[in-house]
Symmetry: C2
Subunit: 348 residues, 2 copies
DNA sequence: AGCACGGCTTGCAACGTTGGAAGGCAGTCA
DNA sequence: TGACTGCCTTCCAACGTTGCAAGCCGTGCT
């Protein structure tokens, strides 16, 4: 009878419960009981088995465990792009928060692309996660509503009104209102919003809300609304912010304040104004949204509206873990409000 | 005989192969064959089964599949922090590159913390991934060498010499050399390196190499090496860069150039110099490493050394997938070299 | 001595999937 | 008509784990 071949290091089979059981001369189940700290194992037996576990470097096979338990302990996080500071920080906090709860986070990037977001909504082709945290950008709400996947989902961002899903949202109307109030309070009267999207047609909720806040502040201060000051941008990036601001000031040299859709756009705007030889805040005041760390270090430092990303991350995970734990009630909505941090770019 | 209870939406059991099989009146294996595009299924049968699959929204259970196949299709990426632009871009590219290869990336953050890095090296307590891409910061190489986990691993960064593992590395000696050459080429003679670590004791490899490059450039230009100009920093962040630079210029007002350990430190340095009323580059030239996007938008724009993160990501994944495909040869080493991008902060 | 009890250990089954082998059926050819 | 062939389908087992129920054994009580 041939002896079994000696496995090479690379093909070495990981230790299983059975291996430990055979080595220790006990049943598989007893080893399992030791691993899972179940009662009804004699202390000396427990010690003995633990010794073999350590010696053989036994670590449970997650797959087997998950198959048995029907849950994977994994949660998908789908967002446009971890590279942007806003989403990056959200992802970072979520990774850690999930870890603390014994969950593993699977990161998926959509680039805000409609088709990719559709795929996420439809559910991953292979069922692998217990839940989903989703920050959509382009997907119409009605489409998400119709998803057949019954995995619990939490929506993050301005998006999702009327979707019937749990949401962590930002009060962007209030945010826009306060941003523009601040600029008007400096005596500025020609305030541009840089970062409009889908104007005339369907604005994504984030944009629609910020614009509504913008108009509310104007109305309140009895300043005439000038639609030309809603300046469109393909994407909310530094590059687009730079191009857009350059074009804006060519068309409207009378602009004396810029409400940038987010901090990246604001950095692009600062750069453009510098290139144009305009002083910030003396000639043009600039205000961004997100309060990314760089805002404290740019020249000039950037006034911004801070959103508590770690709070948002905690909230989303809490909503999701409730569902995982069996909560089956109606949708819930948690709202985060912004906090204005005044810095040099608005004379602060 | 009681009929089975109607499941509520929340507890609805996902569709399995068995469900489809029963609905279609065929065996489980036939459905499996259809799902996996296996031969020996009559076309009309295939169509019929596909119809049921669509109707019942059947999607394979990843766990069952993985258990059967012995692989999870998941790869862990362990790095200090996705929030920093450098690691964020690495993670972002890796997520997409893994996706293209049908792999799923699991992101783990260590904060560069020794204990967390130890855990990663020891292997996750629950076996769940087929491979590991690891960017360590504090872990001594010797410790990593001894890891018992036989999962294939790829090390990313300056770290890992002599570890016996596949590596994607950066030639940081050359990088430091070229950085300082550039500054000396501007006529500067008092070049500080901001971001030294563990000086006197064991410098982490990144630092050791950049310092070696720094000294090599000085030697080559016959400029005396002044150890006081290696300025220590607890961490390579904007905040530490700001504090460190402020302290540096208090101690050494004669500094006329700063080689910052990375771009974040450089942004902190720019901010500090502005606060001190010093002009960049006229009074002090500043140069960073990583060429993050913000470098093109800061005031002044930042000269930096670009490292191709997407190339590094592709390389790491290639090394890893080779191992997953069974390659069992000796360790391999791929090296990325930096490219200097001159901007305003050095008068470019 | 017999019995019950409680503490510890084991055996069985099942989670959902797929490779391999065996089974069935119709058509073809001698 | 019977055997063979080739295609399609089904059956069986196994991946590693854990809940449940049953089994065993020694102790203490009557």
């Amino acid at each position: 009878m041939p002896s079994p071949p000696v496995p090479s290091r690379a093909t070495q089979r990981p230790t299983t419960l059975r291996d430990v059981a055979e080595a220790a001369g006990v049943s598989i189940k007893t080893v399992s009981n030791v691993v899972n700290d179940h009662p009804h194992v004699r202390p000396e037996m427990r010690e003995k088995v633990k010794a073999f576990i350590a010696q053989l470097d036994y670590r449970p096979n997650g797959i087997g465990r998950q198959l048995r338990q029907g849950r994977t302990g994994m949660v998908a996080l789908a967002l446009p792009d971890v590279t942007s500071p806003y989403y990056g920080e959200l992802a970072s906090t979520l990774v850690n928060a999930a870890r603390e709860r014994g969950l593993t986070l699977l990161v998926e990037q959509t680039d805000g692309d409609l088709d990719r977001e559709r795929e996420v909504a439809a559910g991953f082709p292979v069922r692998l996660v217990d839940g989903l945290i989703f920050a959509p950008q382009s997907l119409p709400v009605d489409e998400f509503k119709l998803r057949r996947d019954t995995t619990p989902a939490v929506l993050v961002g301005e998006y999702g009104e009327g979707s019937g899903f749990d949401r962590v949202t930002i009060d962007s109307v209030d945010l826009g209102d306060r941003a523009v109030q601040h600029l008007l309070g400096l005596g500025r009267r020609t305030v541009a919003f840089v970062g409009d999207k889908g104007q005339g047609m369907v604005r994504p909720p984030v944009v629609a809300q910020r614009v509504e806040g913008y108009r509310r502040a104007l109305r309140h201060a009895r300043v005439r609304f000038d639609p030309e000051l809603l300046w469109p941008l393909g994407e909310w990036t530094r590059g687009h912010g730079y191009e857009g601001t350059t074009a804006l000031l060519a068309a409207r040299p009378d602009v004396d304040a810029i409400f940038a859709a987010n901090d990246l756009v604001a950095f692009g705007a600062l750069h453009a104004l510098r290139r144009l030889g305009l002083r910030v805040p003396q000639d043009v005041a600039v205000l961004g949204v997100d309060d990314v760390e760089q805002a404290q270090f740019s020249a000039p430092t950037l006034t911004s509206i801070a959103l508590d990303r770690s709070e948002m991350a905690e909230m989303s995970l809490r909503l999701l873990t409730d569902r995982l734990a069996g909560y089956d009630g109606p949708e819930r909505l948690l709202t985060v409000t912004g906090r204005l941090v005044a810095r040099e770019s608005t004379g602060g």
